[in-house]
Amino acid sequence: MATQLLAACPMHRTHRVTMSVAPRLLTAIASLSLIGLFFLPLWRVQLVAPQYPEGLGMRIGISSVRGATPNDLDNINGLNHYIGMQRISADAIPELRIMPWIVVLLIAGGLAAAVVGRRRVLYAWCLGFFTFGAAGLADFWRWEYDYGHNLDFEHAIIKIPGMNYQPPLIGVKQLLNFTAVSWPDIGGWIAFVALALALAAVVIVMRSHGQGRCPLHGAHHA
């Protein structure tokens, strides 16, 4: 979508080099709100079973995988030994060491776009942001797939042919006695809102730039 945006608003239509205040402000707000990602989890996986009415939870952040309470992750790992799942540990996921730096780059890039006020910088930043988000979700799914399928069948206590334990990316799924619910957490919502603000800034810029003839505006809403 972002590439379409750029393609649809080619540079030769540029009449004004710098952007107006509104998109610059939106870009700055979007960038700064990403600071919240360092403190707030992106995603939450909640597990509820008959004997776990209080539930067990995981919180996935840009640099961490934590339990909803201090012991939830250990307890999830303890239960997972019955099905031969690998131990879930932030140390085993190298992406969690890279992600904070990418977010730093995104914040810096967004602020730069706001300060510089050039359309092309904004478009490039917005594209980068979108790509990072999409790649992050895809990578999260890939890890879920790995944990859910790559089981130690040799030592697993419970073996059910054809069964995998991949939790959903978004939504609800029954995994034996546990109902797994996966959903964006506050950090995730912040990222979505920031992306929406970024796109809004792009749309405003394109509309003002293309005197409302930019077809992308429509594409964005389609």
Binding site: P70, N71, N75, N77, G78, Y82, Q86, R87, D152, I157
Partner: protein
């Protein structure tokens, strides 16, 4: 029904005749019973706590001859827990495990049982604060502290120079002190004297124990009293704050057939003790050093291990040396309970053989003291004139008044043992407002907060001594019954009847909201300071020091590690230190060894418990988890091989099933992490 009522009336009349209380009609109980016997129409819905819902109150019932405390929910009457205190409790290993054995240490050695009487919640500003519950042991006088975050006994202090610690462990409004008084006067210090020399040689003591700091209970001071039987007590509050009141009977000083010989005098006494005066006299150097040994047992909060310390000597006060320390208030007749109303003005006595309920006025008492309205002086204790201190008498309340609680709306409720009823009466006017039969022969009654400055006057729990036909019979030995009564309206309404454990004497209760949020779900393993804790699966093992063998072991769903032990010999003493490394709510394990002359262990999550075992013969002994912990609980087992003394079987412990078959130096994948098998376990 009518037949049983007639039978009961007959029993009461017979009881009255036996007691020689003449000229008293059976009418009050009969009349009251016939009008209030019906259970309130909405009783079922009032006590129904739907599955998954919670009770309004936690109540703590003493266990009497069980030596323990039971925790019930009100209004449902559901039993939540039995907290072991003064008696060994094989169900959990309390008093058997190495960590808890010391809790039962006394100067008489290990005392495995006692008779626990009165539960008492810690108070702040005269109101229960939910920090601790205290309970006394009557037989070998002791006071225990129960931590209400963990619902476990954490401290026990023996009371020296005492016998029959009955008037205990009532607390001052700030919990600065809890008290204990001798129900059985004895020679103090103890001596080999003729029992007939009672009047010369036997004394009573009132003991004040510092209680506000956990782990630091100690005898602050004792007061040497005439050789009567000191029965119950309660602290003053509000205007009477700083005073403590104890009932006495056997002021006749009989030493045999007390049933008759201690029931001669028309009046015995309530001892009013000014404990601030006691502090002053001690500061002024008027106290004497006195002998007496006692044992203090404390669970170290860091290690979870109990240890004992023997202490010697107390500070003793003699009333004759400390003017204004104690006064006697004449009180009819062989009084049992002494209860102070929420305002702190009225001192209500349960004169168990009296035909009235006498109520003293604190204001009048102070005036009588100021005016020196003394009848006589006994061992330096002025006896105030009855007329000078009495505020009023409740006329014809029923028979055998024992204990009184208050609803905070100006009403008092008194248990009537002989006429088997609870009587509601008005403070100030002393008129009887209502009565309700209870089944049968009620002892203590309890209104949540009903002995404090702020009663929660919604329910009253009657704790009965005789059960007979109330439940399906279970042979000659049955349970004691309790009845829950709604006291929120003008008329008392019977709501529920439920059996109890042991013989509850007194009870206490607080709103659930006071304790529910802070109840500990599991011990943090990282804070487990037990010297033999095993923090991780790979840390388990076996070590020998001469004839002593220590096994460090973890329990986690669904295995022990190690679970194979060899090299133990006949003649060894084996200590199994088992740590439940679960960090999850209510995930407990258990541990038991085939043929052990010991109890099993229950292992709450995060805790370490130690079982001592002296194997008697060469054999292979299975051990297993005794608490159905998980789907593979039945697989949670292991073996100990015991060889003859001097055998050359090497000492060994595997740390997991994987390690057992793997060669040294081999890499093992366990729970997703890689380990290397070493001689001592997985690295």
């Amino acid at each position: 029904m009518s037949l049983s009522r007639i039978t009961r009336s007959t029993v009461f009349c017979a009881a009255i005749l036996t007691l020689g209380v003449s000229g008293y009609a059976c009418a009050p109980s009969g009349k009251g019973a016939s009008t209030t016997n019906l259970v309130a129409g909405d009783a079922a819905s009032r006590v129904y706590v739907a599955p998954g819902s919670y009770d309004e109150y936690y109540s703590f019932l003493s266990g009497g001859f069980s030596g323990q405390v039971t925790v019930y929910g009100l209004p449902s009457g559901r039993l939540f827990k039995q907290i072991p205190v003064f008696s060994q409790f094989p169900q959990t290993g309390y008093g058997y495990s190495e960590e808890t054995k010391a809790m039962l240490a006394t100067t008489f050695g290990q005392v495995p049982w006692d008779d626990s009487h009165h539960t008492e919640l810690s108070l702040t500003d005269g109101v229960p604060d939910g920090r601790w519950l205290f309970i006394n042991a009557n037989n070998t006088p002791r006071i225990a502290r129960i931590d209400l975050k963990r619902f476990e006994t954490v401290e026990i202090l023996q009371i020296p120079n005492a016998a029959g610690g009955h008037a205990s462990p009532f607390a001052t409004p700030d919990t600065k002190y809890v008290v204990s008084a001798t129900r059985f006067s004895v020679p103090i210090p103890q001596a080999d004297v003729p029992i007939a020399s009672y009047k010369q040689n036997f004394k009573g003591t009132l003991t004040f124990v510092t209680a506000n700091q956990p782990g630091k209970m100690d005898v602050a001071f004792q007061i040497m009293m005439p050789g009567y039987d000191y029965d119950l007590g309660h602290a003053g509050k509000g205007p009477s704050d700083g005073w403590f009141f104890f009932t006495t009977y056997n002021s006749e000083q009989a030493n045999t057939k007390l049933e008759v010989n201690a029931s001669q005098a028309d009046k015995d006494y309530i001892a009013a003790v000014n404990y601030r005066k006691a502090e002053q006299c001690i500061a002024d150097g008027k106290a004497k050093k006195f002998g007496g040994s006692y044992v203090h047992n404390v669970v170290d909060p860091k290690t979870g291990v109990a240890s004992s310390e023997t202490k010697t000597g107390v500070t003793m006060l003699y009333p004759a040396d400390c003017d204004g320390l104690v006064y006697y208030l004449p009180t009819p007749k062989s009084p049992h309970g002494v209860d102070i109303d929420p305002s702190g003005e009225y001192i209500v006595a349960g004169g168990k053989l009296a035909t009235v309920i006498p109520v003293h006025s604190f204001t009048k008492m102070l005036k009588a003291i100021a005016d020196k309205q003394f009848e006589k002086t006994i061992d330096g204790i002025p006896v105030l004139k009855y007329e000078a201190v009495i505020a009023g008498e409740v006329q014809k309340p029923g028979l055998g008044p024992l204990h009184t609680e208050f609803d905070g709306r100006g009403n008092a409720y008194t248990s009537m043992f002989i006429s088997s009823e609870v009587v509601k009466w008005k403070l100030g006017t002393w008129e009887v407002l209502d009565r309700i039969p209870v089944y049968y022969s009620v002892g203590h009654i309890m209104i949540p907060g009903g002995d404090s400055r702020k009663p929660y006057g919604k329910y009253l729990l009657a704790l009965d001594k005789i059960t007979k036909d109330r439940y399906l019979p279970t042979g000659p030995e049955g349970s004691r019954s309790a009845q829950l009564i709604d006291i929120s309206g003008d008329k008392m309404k019977m709501l529920l009847d439920f059996p109890t454990m042991g013989e509850p004497h007194y009870a206490q209760a607080v709103p659930a909201s006071m304790l529910q949020p802070t109840s500990v779900k599991f011990e943090k393993l990282s804070e487990n300071g037990n010297p033999f804790v095993t923090m991780a699966e790979s840390d388990g093992g076996i070590t020998r020091h001469g004839k002593r063998v220590d096994v460090k072991m973890i329990a986690i769903r669904s295995h022990f590690a190690p679970d194979i032990l060899e090299g133990i010999q006949v003649g060894d003493t084996v200590y199994f230190h088992v740590t439940n490394i679960e960090q999850d709510w209510n995930i407990a394990h258990g541990f038991a060894v085939f043929g052990a002359n010991n109890s099993g262990l229950t292992l709450p999550p995060g805790e370490t418990r130690t079982l001592k075992w002296i194997p008697q013969a060469p054999a292979v002994y299975p051990f297993y988890c005794t608490d159905f912990c998980s789907a593979l609980h039945q697989e949670m087992q292991g073996y100990v091989r015991v060889s003859p003394a001097g055998s050359n079987v090497a000492l060994m412990a595997n740390t997991s099933h994987t390690a057992q078959t793997a060669a040294l130096g081999a890499e093992v994948k366990l729970n997703g992490a890689k380990h290397v098998v070493s001689a001592t376990g997985l690295r």
